[in-house]
């Protein structure tokens, strides 16, 4: 299990690094965060209110960085990410907790589906070089070059409207109460469809391409030729021999590029006003809600780490060579 142990050590280290980075981010802000909050109110708040805000946030800059750092860890371990400015006095953890399921559902599901479909198409494209499916490649290249958010904008412009099946934003119909009933779930699915399709289109191309290339490379391996020589059914050769091996680099690529993917998908949420972390991040940026930004960044990083870990486990299951015994 050496592989696993090494990975775990790596994750622990990365998590530590991300958390520490996170600690220092607000300490790089020019001026103080409260000022940003006041600015944000933009005339809706009298300047006298400023004084009350300082009292509210109870900022104490006179503490040493060290003790702040330890305090910070203590808070983190208690799940305390501080108070959000935008939603004061709500806990950042509460605000994030509200948005996280949406992101997990949208980004998680679409990423996985995108990976699966992309890999499947890539497998076919690589296996049947020169067939119609291979002709998809230039198209997908073009699609994958389009920024996620722009594709989303176009989708909104073209596909949504008063009479359209696709809603232009939000996670579910206004007026519905989140609940595990069919009406709500149906509405949530309906609202998630367009963002999901956007993410799928943008993200799939990458998988198609890398899988195709791996397939082309793997198809020339001796063991694939041997599989043909063995007279195995074509499907078996394609799936069990070629794709199974071509998948390995793709899976580790998947793990590694999760960070990029998440970055991209967050934008889709922004465009579709989807009530997830990406949109929250956007709000946080707009309103300079640093505790919120920090929290989001931390959660995203940790989620990506977690997803990475899962992908690693998958890799371990897929590649017997990493399962080397003791």
């Amino acid at each position: 299990m050496s592989y696993l142990l090494r990975r775990v050590a790596f994750y622990v280290f990365t998590a530590w690094a991300a958390i520490t980075l996170n600690f220092f981010i607000p300490r790089m802000i020019p001026g103080d965060p409260v000022q940003s909050l006041i600015t944000k109110a933009r005339g809706q708040m009298t300047s006298d209110a400023i004084a009350s805000l300082y009292v509210l946030f109870g900022l104490d800059p006179k503490e040493s960085v060290f003790s702040q750092y330890f305090k910070y860890w203590g808070q983190l371990l208690r799940g305390d990410l501080g108070l959000s400015f935008t939603f004061f006095p709500s806990q950042v953890s509460e605000v994030i907790g509200q948005a996280l399921p949406w992101t997990l559902a949208l980004v998680g599901i679409t990423t996985v589906i995108g990976f699966v479909i992309g890999t499947a198409l890539g497998t076919l494209a690589g296996w049947r070089r020169g067939s119609w499916i291979d002709a998809l490649i230039p198209v997908t290249t073009f699609l994958s070059s389009i920024p996620y958010f722009w594709l989303g904008l176009i989708a909104i412009a073209l596909l949504t409207g008063p009479d359209s099946f696709f809603p232009a934003g939000n996670g579910y119909d206004t007026g519905l109460v989140p609940n595990w009933d069919w009406e709500f779930i149906g509405s949530a699915v309906q609202h998630g469809l367009l963002p999901a399709i956007t993410i799928l289109i943008s993200s799939m191309a990458g998988w198609i391409l890398s899988m195709r290339n791996m397939m082309v490379t793997v198809a020339a391996e001796d063991y694939v030729t041997v599989a043909h020589a063995k007279g195995l059914p074509e499907r078996r050769v394609m799936v069990g021999y070629a794709a199974r091996n071509a998948l390995l680099p793709n899976v580790s690529g998947f793990a590694l590029s999760l960070g990029f993917i998440v970055g991209g998908t967050l934008l889709v949420e922004i465009v579709f006003s989807y009530p997830g972390l990406g949109f929250l991040l956007y709000q946080g940026v707009g309103s300079k809600d640093y505790p919120l930004l920090q929290g989001i960044f931390l959660i995203i990083t940790l989620s990506v780490l977690l997803a990475n870990f899962v992908a690693d486990l998958a890799y371990m299951l897929l590649d017997p060579r990493t399962r080397r015994e003791g």
């Binding site: 299990m1 050496s2 142990l5 080397r324 003791g326």
Partner: protein
């Protein structure tokens, strides 16, 4: 040519140039899993207590199966690896340089040729670059452009790549395997060394080209009185090209001596197995199952090598003693020795 030019060629043929004494190399194994917690580092005992001498104008062959540590010996001799133990002496003086000026000075005298001519030349550089660098590093490029050009021409001529202009500006991929290996040799000669360490210089070459490179090496030995270490796993070629042959098994030298003697009257059971296994065209359709089980089993692990004689698990003549005691070298005849308890005269 400095020291060597003063000596007569007669005496030169026996002069010891490079000596290795008790050369040992253990590679640490990457720790895994729970071992991280333990303090013991596991080692690949790639080379253990190898002693050999290279003489002026003579070819010494080092044979042995894959993974027996031949290349490691060569690299230790070239000072490319730090050694775990033992000593390398150049002209009787111990050397320890693995980097810097001292290493450069050493590499001027001891040069190495690699197994794979397809890999040992940088694909992005021309023949000219390779050779010029070799000359420049060892300050043999001369003062002017012409000097350099002459030196280059000379080098190419020495490895029979003539006319030089046909080869000098080519990239490695534009040359055939044999030509590449010649360029590699020319590069080694660029330092004007006294010792050539040739690590399987022909194993990657086509049968018809091999001979040319080997003949070239022999020719260099004779003309330039180089001391050559010829590493191979093809024991037949050792018979043909080497004056002396040493046989390695699992990181240790098990037998050595005059090539003809070692190949024709192998003493160590491993050498015997090796020679038995080599294809023999004279024994047409001789691939019938032999009565005796030929060297059953696999090469030993070098991480936990067998105790005593490392060959004992596979040895048909194994004795109790082989399993516990490490056999020293026993002289069999003049210059011919084997590290095998079978030749322990006292025992008898």
């Amino acid at each position: 040519m400095t020291a060597s030019s003063m000596k007569s060629s007669a005496s030169a043929t026996t002069e010891v140039v490079l000596e290795a004494d008790g050369l040992t190399k253990h590679f640490p194994v990457r720790k895994r899993g729970r071992e991280v917690l333990s303090r013991v580092t596991r080692m690949v005992q790639a080379v253990d207590d190898v002693s050999l001498t290279l003489r002026r104008g003579r070819v010494t062959a080092l044979v042995g199966e894959s993974g027996s540590g031949k290349s490691t010996v060569a690299r230790l001799l070239a000072q490319l690896y730090p050694r775990t133990a033992g000593e390398v002496k150049l002209h009787g003086k111990p050397v320890t340089a693995t980097s810097g000026k001292r290493f450069r000075a050493y590499s001027r005298q001891v040069q190495m040729i690699f197994q794979d001519p397809f890999a040992s030349l940088n694909p992005v550089h021309t023949v000219r670059y390779h050779l010029t660098r070799a000359l420049k590093i060892h300050n043999r490029a001369g003062a002017s452009k012409e000097d350099l050009e002459n030196a280059l021409t000379g080098l190419l001529a020495r490895v029979q790549l003539t006319p030089p202009e046909r080869y000098i500006d080519k990239f490695p991929h534009e040359l055939s395997g044999g030509q590449r290996q010649r360029v590699a040799i020319a590069r080694a000669l660029g330092a004007d060394p006294e010792v050539l360490l040739a690590d399987e210089p022909v194993s990657m070459l086509d049968v018809s080209i091999r001979l040319g490179v080997l003949n070239l090496l022999r020719d260099l030995k004779e003309r330039l009185h180089l001391a050559i270490l010829y590493i191979t796993h093809d024991i037949a070629s050792a018979r043909y090209f080497a004056d002396e042959t040493m046989v390695m098994y699992a990181g240790r030298v098990v037998e050595g001596g005059d090539s003809e003697t070692v190949t024709q009257q192998p003493a160590h059971p491993y050498t015997q197995l090796l020679i038995d296994s080599a294809p023999d065209p004279d024994q047409i359709a001789g691939y019938r199952t032999s009565e005796k089980d030929r060297g059953s089993g696999e090469p030993p692990s070098l991480i936990n090598p067998p105790s005593g004689c490392r060959f004992h698990p596979r040895c048909p003549h194994v004795m109790e003693r082989c399993k516990t005691d490490l056999p020293p070298r026993f002289d069999i005849s003049d210059g011919h020795f084997a590290a095998c308890w079978l030749y322990d005269k006292e025992k008898a």
